[in-house]
Structure formats: C-alpha cells, structure tokens
Symmetry: C2
Subunit: 258 residues, 2 copies
C-alpha cells in the first residue's frame, strides 16, 4: 500500500472480461458488468472497459493480456465450472505464461464441500481446484469452488450471486483512490431542450462530468442527468447549478431521478 | 452479394461496441448486446465480441478501428443524442479518417419531426443530423434521429427500443451465412455430475457445441444445456444423445429448458 494521501489523486482503473457464449448468443443478459462496476466505485476504482468474448482459448488469451496490461485490475467472469466448456483457468494461465496446477487449498475446500454432502470428488469436480501456478484463492461462501487471484487478475464465477459473494470477500482489500460519487436528477424534458445548459454546467465545474440518459415512458419524453465527481463539495455545487437550470423554465427537477 | 451456396459454409462475424459511462458506472444494465446478438443469429451472423468503453474520443476511436478490422460487421450503440456527451459520430469519423458533415436527408427528417411538433430545429437537435462523410441513414421509426451506416460500421441508438426499430429496418439487408440454431434442455442436476457425458456428446457430434449453464433456484441445483449448430439434422441427433445421457440416470430432461 502506498501513501493514501497520494492515492487520493490517482485514478485506479479496472476492466471486466466476460467469458461466455451464452452472453454472445443473446440467450443470457449479463449482470456481472453492472455488479462489478458498482462494487468497484465503492472501492475507489473506475471500471474503464468491459469485453465479452466467446469460450475459445485464443480469444480469452488475447483479451486477458490486452486488459491486464492496460488497467490496474482485471476481473474475469465465467468459465470456471466443471464442464468441458470451462477453459478460463487454462486460458489465463496461458496468458500469464505459467502452468496449471491443482491448488492444495482449493482441493481441500472441494473435498470438504462434496464430502460433507456425501458426494465423491470426481475428476470433473476436481477441475475446479485447478489454478494458474502461483495463484491465491478468493473465498466463495455460496458454493464450493473458490475464485482465483493471480497478480492483478481476479477470476470470478459466471453465476452473479456467486460473484457477489466473492466481491464481498475482496471488499477493502484492493488499493483504490477517492471513490467516484454521483447524484442523479430526473426531469420530464427532451434532452435536446437542455443540451446547451448541460454543456454549460459541465464546463463551469471542472472535475465534474454530466451525463444525460434519455427515456420514453408513459408516452412521455424524459431524461435522468447524472453528475459525477470525486469531490463531494464540487459535486453539490454542480448538482445545484443543474437543478436551477432545469427549474428555470418552470420544469420540476426530481432529486434521485425518475 | 456472393453466391448463397458458398456463403452457407462461411461464418459471418460481428462485434458490438457499447459506448457509455452509464454502463461502466453500473447505473444501467446493458440490453443492447443481447438484443443485437439475438437479431444477428437470425441474419446468419455470429456475434463474436462485445466491448463497452467510456464516452471518450480516444477509447472509442481505438475500439472502432480494432473491431471494424477484425469482424465483418461492427454495431455501435449509444452516444448519438443531442447533448455534449454524445461524441460517437465524431469518434467514428475520426476512426474512419473522414470529416463530419450534416447529412441533408437526416436534416430533412429532423425538420419534419420537430416541425410537425411545433418545435424549432435548434443547434443541439441539428447535432443529430451529423454523420461521417459518405454515410447512409438507417431509418428510425421510434423517434426522429436516424441511425447511420458507413461501410461495415452501423451506428445505433443507446435506448434499446430505438435500436430495436433500427434493427427491424436492417433485417434481411446484410449478407450472412447459415443461421446458428440452438436447442435448450434443462435438468435438475449438478453440472459436475454430467460433465463427462456432455464432453462425450460434443466430441461425438463434430459441428455442434454443447454449453452448460448452471443455476440455483428454489434451493436446488440445476443447469440448462444448450446445443448449437448450423445443421438442423446434426443438432437433432446431438440433442437426442444429450437427453438420453441425462435420462440414463433416472433424471428428467426438460425440453426447452428450466
């Protein structure tokens, strides 16, 4: 850990790599990107890129190497189960240039988990104790098989609630900067009507970003405006300016969003 | 269009590039990847990679160039509205090495759309008529601003139901191969118990992929098994072998999935 005062001004970045044909086929909606993104914000780490690749060795190896080099942290999800299409550990090991080994701690966890249920630790189940050589384990309190950490690469489950448990276990253990905070304001307005005002508010508050997210509901046009900053006082001033701008034309600005 | 008989054996690939801080902040769950993936399957085009990047010029330009070179088609979503954070058109134009121009057809559509509502075509709204020079328009029947096609790059909206309308307009216009078809079978079984059988079924049916997607519901462990192929007869044989394998141990195989 370096000096926290220095880190406050450093931006820590992360990428998520979703591994899975089920996402690319449209069969399953990914939930892990949003889940990991929200968790990272609280850790003071910014999710800067996400990728989804298929369950093929070549695609995973290329993405792991591109992303672990470009960002402070890389989280992979998916492909760590017991079946033949679970090749994440092999692919990450290849990307890292290390062999795959059975981790004694992971083996013990699986023996305990399956043994306690009167089940045998079959060859398929033992696959889930395989890690890139030199890895540490990430506790999994939801099911048997642990997650895996190797350097700045975190190998998480594909099933979202298992990954949620692994994230809990990692909370507070990663070095981050000042958390990015945000405040949302909703308004029943076409964003094109307030585009100039939004641009002016962002320009007048360096260190804040203003995002505009339109929607159509109940046959009406509206938008949520999200102001983001690492500085709470600056954020408050920008939000105040935004709400004044929205209400200037007799509209209602809804704190928290619509 | 080349010879359809030749194309049957060619795999056509696509990538999706989601542009938006709202996805990377965890605030919004992306729906466009799954939506475009499902639509592509029907067109005989395989979604091979998806990326999510932030609303910054550098990130978008790099991703556009990497993906349009690697795949037959690239679909971007997001960042084409009237506000200051909508920079997709500028970024794609920079990636393509062409200037941004106001498209006369798009301008006419916007004049008609806003004029018909008694609204002025402000500078902010006119931003939505800007395209990379040489682009064609993609009709948008949901709201005013059209999508944009330039070569193999398709610039779509961020709001999912607007993109749905644009996809409808493109249906049948893109060259594809034989559609990938799939059949799902569910079973209340831990996937580790059938891992060897799944591997054997896939190995015995070259041209089919077998995916295993575990879940935990109602306090029980189950999985859905998805067999995919471009050949309907081959698919049917592999599904039959899979169901026989699942039922061999007295379990029930649920056609269509659980």
């Amino acid at each position: 850990m370096s000096d926290p005062d220095t880190n406050k001004n450093r931006v820590f970045t992360a990428a998520v790599l979703v591994i899975g044909d089920e996402i690319l086929s449209g069969r399953t909606h990914d939930k892990n990107i949003a889940q990991i993104a929200s968790w990272l914000q609280v850790q003071g780490i910014r999710l800067t890129e996400a990728r989804v690749v298929s369950d093929t060795m070549e695609a995973i190896v290329a993405a792991v190497n591109a992303l672990r080099d470009s960002y402070d942290y890389l989280f992979t999800t998916g492909g760590i189960g017991p079946t033949h299409d679970d090749i994440t550990v092999d692919a990450v090991a290849e990307a890292l240039g290390v062999p795959v080994v059975v981790h004694p701690g992971a083996r013990a966890i699986l023996e305990d988990y399956y043994g306690g249920r009167g089940l045998e630790l079959t060859e398929a189940r033992l696959r889930m104790a395989r890690v890139p050589d030199g890895a540490d384990l990430i506790p999994n309190r939801m099911s048997g098989a642990p997650g895996i950490r190797w350097g700045n690469v975190f190998i998480m489950a594909g099933v979202p609630h298992i990954t949620a448990g692994m994230l809990d276990a990692l909370t507070g253990t990663l070095e981050g900067g000042a958390p990015l905070i945000s405040e949302t304001t909703g308004c029943w307005v076409a964003e094109s009507e307030v585009a100039e005002m939004l641009r002016a508010v962002e320009k007048a508050h360096p260190g804040c970003q203003v995002g505009s997210y339109p929607f159509f509901r109940e046959g009406r046009t509206g938008a949520n405006f999200v102001v983001r900053s690492t500085d709470p006082a600056l954020l408050a001033r920008a939000v105040e300016a935004l709400r004044t701008g929205l209400e200037g034309d007799g509209r209602e600005a809804v704190a928290g969003g619509i």
